[in-house]
């Protein structure tokens, strides 16, 4: 188990270094950082001084090392547009994105798993077929269309839930949460649903396929031969066997959701990292873009590693591989 852990963490570190290299290249070579930061009135001497101050005269390797060390400390430089530390901007926006993605993930599991089990068990019934067909729509509808439809229906027409912003938030240290206020929770509904819809159908289809496959297995038949009641066989024995792929997928998708949140955040004007990134693109705010790239990748890699480790904890066969 320990060997396994060390191996996985080493892999993760290598991937992160590669990503950092890419972010660094963008930062260093897409446009001249000095040119981005100065205006026409700046003298050549001032420019040279800035160049020296930024360390741009050092060798590329020294610069990369500095970039990685700084990034590891959460220092991504100063935003060109806001003239504030990028880390501050991200820290402000990160809670909004994370809460949105978290709620979307929970929704997808809470709705997707039971739907998957039901459509598998009652295969061939009209409601199961309808759900199965509906899920194709869910997979194929573009996210912004879903978002706009949700806004039109539930916000504009019915007026049930707010269509943009986070509502009131409560600050706990540097974290800002929308969970603790009524308007904060209400504002979460539509964007998280919009973000989750794709994921719900994904979970449902995966659970359904896995359930159908598992129900044919010998240990399921043997469980029934031991007298385990059908319900218990389905929801304990079979579902348990399906959870690993679901956990894996949910974990992997968590990173995707953070990336997809870009669109949802734009549609719902949700003040998260995605919106920050979209704004950064319009202003060619390279440090913010580089930081976003690094952080989203870090989340991706961290989650992948965690999923692998969780996998080993859940599946005893992986845990005992060393034996």
């Amino acid at each position: 188990m320990l060997v396994f852990l060390v191996k996985r963490i080493f892999n993760a570190a290598v991937v992160m270094l590669a990503v950092a290299a890419m972010a660094f290249l963008i930062f260093r070579f897409v446009g001249d950082p000095v040119e981005m930061m100065v205006n026409e009135q700046t003298t050549q001497a001032q420019r040279d001084q800035l160049r020296e101050h930024l360390g741009l005269n050092d060798s590329v390797f020294v610069q990369f090392e500095r970039f990685v060390v700084n990034a590891a400390h959460g220092d991504f430089g100063i935003s060109y547009r806001n003239q504030r530390p990028v880390s501050e901007l991200i820290a402000e926006r990160f809670p909004a994105t994370l809460e949105l993605v978290l709620v979307a993930t929970i929704l997808s599991l809470l709705i997707g798993i039971p739907l998957g089990v039901v459509t598998a068990i009652h295969r061939g019934t009209w409601y199961s077929e309808t759900l199965q067909f509906g899920s194709i729509l869910g997979v194929s509808l573009p996210s912004f269309v879903v978002g706009i439809m949700l806004i039109l229906t539930f916000s504009v027409t019915l007026g049930w839930a707010p269509a943009f912003g986070r509502g009131d938030v409560v600050h706990i240290g540097w974290w800002s949460t929308g969970f603790l206020t009524r308007s904060g929770r209400a504002s979460l509904i539509l964007p998280s649903l919009s973000l989750a819809l794709f994921q719900i159908t994904l979970v449902m289809r995966l659970v359904r396929a896995e359930m159908l496959e598992t129900m044919r297995m010998d240990f399921i038949k043997f469980a029934r031969a031991r007298g385990v009641p059908a319900r218990r066989v389905q929801f304990r024995h079979a579902l348990r066997n399906c959870l690993m792929p679901v956990i894996t997928m949910t974990g992997m998708q968590f990173g995707n959701l953070i990336a997809f949140a870009l669109i949802t955040e734009t549609v719902f004007q949700w003040p998260g990292m995605g919106l920050l990134f979209m704004q950064a693109i319009t202003f060619v705010d390279i440090p913010v873009m580089a930081a976003y790239l690094c952080i989203v990748s870090f989340i991706f890699v961290a989650i992948n590693t965690l999923v692998d480790i969780t996998y080993a904890v859940i599946d005893p066969r992986l845990r005992h591989q060393g034996h």
Binding site: F222, A225, R226, G227, V228, P229, R240, D315, P316, H320
Partner: protein
């Protein structure tokens, strides 16, 4: 031997109350398919008494497993029982609702399947699976059930049972896993055990051990056993009576000595001739030409006639019924009116 005699006498004297543990009457199992209804099992009748081991033999596809599955009420749809009755201790069980049948499975009928690698849930410890089964059927507390689970593991010969109970199936060898499966089948002391090829997936060196274990444990409990196998050696060693299936029908059934040493049905003869002698001499296997018809192409009359050297015109017309022959009952026109039309 004693128990045998005992079981038989009570069977006869207490005529009004003593039923065979299992009685199957005229069972027909069908699979509706696009190409029509297939008969996987046709007109099969058999009984198993307390303490008796009935061997079910026949080629692959003969309908052995389907007979067992029908008894357990676990036929995979669209497979179903189209005709016949199954009685456990004199009470019909083939028409029970699923809820009732689930209470019988594991409690009154234990099952052992072919592949111990896949019979156990890979994500639960063997202890969890044992305790689950025990507590489903017997009113025991968790700790009592656990103690019982350890006793069962000891009984089936798992060394250091109290340590190994918390291990996962993959931590056991194939033979040990089959012992765990047997412990699971015995968890609630069922009166009938259906063992479907319990040794086929195991190493040859382990097969004999598992067979001996199964026999000892069933004898000790006086359980009735349906032992499905195509290993005639296992049958000769283990079974009291044996039924030979061919294309879904019983062609000969009787005491194991009679059927093995003096088979009547031409198919049974061919089958017995194909047992390699124990001495290990290279024996010429008296193979029967041709192969058993699949359920979608069973011919008119006796299903065996196209492969039978003794067949006559009558065999192509009508299906023979079982008639008394010496030491067994046989379904062959040779013994019931001749093969001529």
């Amino acid at each position: 031997m004693l128990m045998q005699a005992h079981a038989t006498t009570t069977g006869h004297s207490g005529a009004a109350i003593a039923h065979p543990v299992l009685e199957v009457r005229n069972l027909r199992v069908v699979f509706p398919t696009r190409h029509g209804v297939l008969n996987a099992v046709s007109d099969v009748s058999l009984t198993i008494n307390k303490g008796e081991i009935l061997g079910l033999v026949g080629e692959s596809g003969a309908g052995k497993s389907m007979t067992g599955m029908a008894t357990l009420g676990l036929l995979e749809p669209p497979g179903r029982i189209a005709e016949g009755e199954i009685l456990l201790d004199g009470r019909r069980i083939d028409n029970l609702p699923e809820r009732e049948m689930a209470k019988i499975r594991g409690r009154r009928i234990g099952a052992i399947f072919q592949d111990p690698l896949t019979s156990l849930h890979p994500l639960f410890t063997v202890g969890a699976q044992l305790v689950e089964t025990i507590r489903l059927h017997l009113h025991l507390s968790r700790s009592q059930a656990r103690r019982r689970a350890i006793d069962l593991l000891k009984e089936v010969g798992i060394p250091a049972a109290s340590d190994r109970i918390d291990d996962y199936p993959h931590q056991f060898s194939g033979g040990m896993r089959q012992r765990v499966v047997i412990a699971l089948a015995l968890a609630a002391e069922p009166e009938l055990i259906i063992a479907d090829e319990p040794t086929t997936a195991l190493d040859v060196s382990i097969q004999a051990q598992i067979t001996a274990l199964l026999r000892r444990i069933c004898r000790e409990r006086a359980a009735a056993v349906m032992l499905v196998t195509h290993d005639m050696g296992v049958i000769a060693e283990t079974a009291d009576r044996v039924a030979v299936l061919y294309a879904g029908r019983i062609v000969e059934v009787g005491h194991v000595d009679a059927v093995i040493h003096a088979p009547k049905h031409p198919y049974a003869k061919g089958l017995m001739d194909s047992i390699p002698p124990l001495e290990g001499r290279v024996a010429r296997l008296a193979q029967i030409d041709g192969s058993m018809p699949r359920p979608d192409s069973i011919p008119e009359g006796c299903a065996f006639h196209s492969r039978c050297t003794l067949a006559g015109p009558h065999c192509r017309i009508a299906v023979p019924g079982l008639v008394e022959t010496e030491g067994s009952r046989t379904a062959c026109w040779l013994y019931s009116g001749g093969v001529e039309a």
